[in-house]
């Protein structure tokens, strides 16, 4: 019955398969996942090194306003004769960084509130859910606009924080209901009976079960945050501190008359296309995330 220590050590050496290798296998299973990953990688790269490729202030050229696509200007130029492609590439960082922070804060707040409410229940649940309901009901975009009056969120971090604050409620509710049903399961009760701490139960027992959902929400929240950011810039509510896709859209709509002339089409469409491509990449990649994080789907 007793196993000798040497024996024990030897078969503890039999380790689980390498996580990265498993991930890679899951991703290459379907071409759509690879495409998603590539799209995401392209934009992340753009955000990381894009601004280094161009001067801090992009040159204007009054002689080439709304130039058609050419070798020098693959996407044409805007109303000031600035290269649209350069604007797109340099504008990625602010948008994606802001979206990343926003998703991070959304998930952080939403998950903590949802876990706490679902796990502790009783009065803590009621209080937290009242607050959640409030944030859920109050339309978040108008709230953002109202908040912009006292808070000049011009850095990606501040913008991300404010988007997180206005956007966490839906996730909190979903996490709460999942936590609630998990709490009814025998293994949570067993963990409490064994004397594991609440912290341990929340982080090691409950969290892994909702992790796939949370990671998927992290990705979805990123796209949602991109929309909100660009929406804010588009409406001209946030001061234009740097060049980014939202500012481009605003200029195209309000300043340049791109809405009325077909020549401005590329200027208007380029940022829109980027938003769509990022979303597209995320949606395609989600499928892989789902399979990766769900042990029951991994197969035996």
């Amino acid at each position: 019955m007793a196993t000798s220590p040497a024996n024990v050590q030897s078969f503890y050496m039999v380790k689980r398969p390498n996580a990265l290798a498993v991930a890679w296998k899951v991703i290459v299973k379907k071409p759509s996942r690879v495409i998603g990953l590539i799209l995401i990688a392209i934009f992340v790269l753009m955000a990381a090194i894009g601004p280094m490729l161009y001067p801090p202030v992009l040159p204007i050229n009054p002689l080439a306003i709304y130039a058609a696509p050419s070798f020098a200007h693959p996407l044409g130029t805007d109303f000031q004769g600035t290269d649209v492609l350069a604007e797109i590439i340099t504008g990625a960082r602010f948008v994606l960084l802001g979206a990343f922070f926003a998703a991070l804060f959304t998930v952080l707040i939403g998950t903590s509130v949802g876990l706490a409410a679902g796990y502790f229940r009783k009065w803590r649940d009621s209080v937290l859910m009242r607050i959640t309901d409030l944030f859920l009901t109050v339309p978040s975009f108008p709230l953002l606009i109202v908040l912009s009056t006292i808070w000049r969120f011009t850095s990606p971090l501040a913008l991300g924080l404010v988007l997180g604050i206005t956007g966490w409620a839906g996730l909190a509710r979903a996490v709460r209901s999942q936590t609630f049903s998990l709490r009814e399961r025998g293994f949570i009760e067993a963990a409490r009976g064994i004397g594991l701490s609440d912290w341990h139960i929340l982080t090691r027992e409950i969290f892994p079960n909702i992790a796939p959902y949370i990671v998927m929400n992290l990705l979805i929240a990123t796209t949602g945050a991109i929309y909100s950011e660009i929406g804010l810039f588009f409406l001209g509510i946030v001061p234009f501190s740097t060049n980014n896709w939202g500012v481009m859209l605003n200029m195209a709509f309000t300043q340049s008359g791109a809405m009325y002339t077909k020549s401005g089409l590329l200027y208007l469409l380029s940022p829109l296309a980027c938003i769509m491509l990022v979303t597209f990449g995320v949606v395609l990649f989600l499928d892989a995330v789902d399979e990766l994080l769900n042990p029951r789907l991994k197969g035996v």
């Binding site: 078969f11 039999v14 963990a191 064994i194 341990h200 892994p208 079960n209």
Partner: protein, 340 residues
């Protein structure tokens, strides 16, 4: 080791078409089980047996009476002390499918609680790993095979064994098995029951088997005691074999009569009677004996007065009935059977 005294629990409830509002899950239940002893709690679903099990594991609160663990009342304990005391009493859940975390492998299920145990008992991390392996062997699983499996890769019987191994990580003094085999395959049930009986002997554990399957209770607690519960009340209690061979309370008799007879191997017991189907009663409970609404022997006295638990015979049998009579309702084996 575990003692409950006049334990009372009332649930406030609402519900379906025929439901009453408040449910008295337990009414002044007193029981005691020592280390190394076995007790079977027998009754139908909703009789309060599960609530009782959960209370002695510290997973449910109670309104009246007291629970003593190692002669220590849990009422006065603080949060920390309660947690510590209730570690001595581990619950084996009915559903082995939900009792293990689907996202974590078996190694984690055992190592997490073992780490705590190691900290408490000042042992090192080699001990933790070694102990996990030992425990798996102890419950009849091959450690090499199971350690890195996820719960969904195991059969119901194997899961229940893992659950038992996990309960043993904290070195408990008692296991409360709540319908622990009802959700696993019939062919595998006996193996798990056998394991419980073995653990009781080898680790000197107190085993409380909560079930509606009297035969299962007999298998684990044949030399222990049975307590029959009806609507939150103990109606009969005594040595397992004496209750099975000569039940006194009509409810016990009904339960035993309802056990299917393996015709061909067994014949009906001489006094077997088919119990009345449950009558759906609305509104207030009977003033007298709670079972009088279904009892074939009940008369006006039974319906008007409540019988208290009292001694029967010269053993330590207790029963609560105004018309006690021993009846032999259990099937009798035809002896030519399968050994031939």
């Amino acid at each position: 080791m575990i003692e409950v005294v006049d334990l009372t629990r009332t649930f406030r409830g609402a519900g379906g078409l025929f439901a009453q509002n408040d449910v008295q899950a337990l009414r002044k239940v007193s029981l005691k089980v020592e280390r190394g002893a076995a007790l079977g709690l027998i009754g139908e679903s909703g009789c309060g047996k599960t609530t009782l099990g959960r209370i002695v594991c510290g997973l449910e609160t109670f309104d009246g009476g007291d629970v003593l663990i190692d002669n220590q009342s849990v009422k006065t304990l603080g949060d920390r002390a309660r947690r510590k005391v209730f570690r001595k009493v581990q619950l084996i859940h009915q559903d082995p499918y939900s009792a293990l975390n689907p996202t974590r492998d078996i190694a984690h299920a055992l190592i997490d609680p073992l780490r705590i145990q190691a900290r408490l008992t000042r042992r090192d991390s080699t001990w933790v790993k070694q102990r996990a392996v030992e425990l798996l062997s102890l419950v009849g699983l091959d450690p090499q095979e199971t350690l890195y499996k996820f719960p969904h890769q195991l059969s119901g019987g194997q899961r229940q064994r893992v659950v038992i191994a996990r309960a043993l990580t904290v070195e408990p003094e008692a296991l409360i098995a709540d319908e622990a085999v009802s959700m696993i395959d019939v062919s595998l049930r006996l193996g798990v029951l056998h394991l419980l009986a073995t653990l009781r002997r080898e680790l000197n554990l107190a085993i409380v088997l909560i079930t509606h399957d009297v035969a299962a209770a007999r298998y684990v607690a044949h030399d222990g005691e049975l307590a029959v519960i009806y609507k939150g009340e103990i109606v009969e209690k005594g040595k397992t074999d004496s209750i099975i061979s000569a039940p006194v309370h009509p409810y016990t008799q009904a339960l035993l009569s309802a056990v299917p007879v393996l015709r061909g191997l067994e014949v009906d017991g001489p006094d077997r009677y088919i119990p009345e189907p449950e009558v759906q009663v609305q509104g207030a409970e009977p003033a007298g004996c709670l079972f009088s609404t279904r009892c074939v022997f009940a008369d006006d006295h039974c319906r008007g007065h409540h019988p208290d638990l009292s001694r029967w015979g010269d053993g330590d049998r207790l029963m609560a009935c105004f018309k006690p009579q021993e009846r032999q309702v259990v099937a009798v084996a035809v002896d030519d059977a399968m050994e031939a």
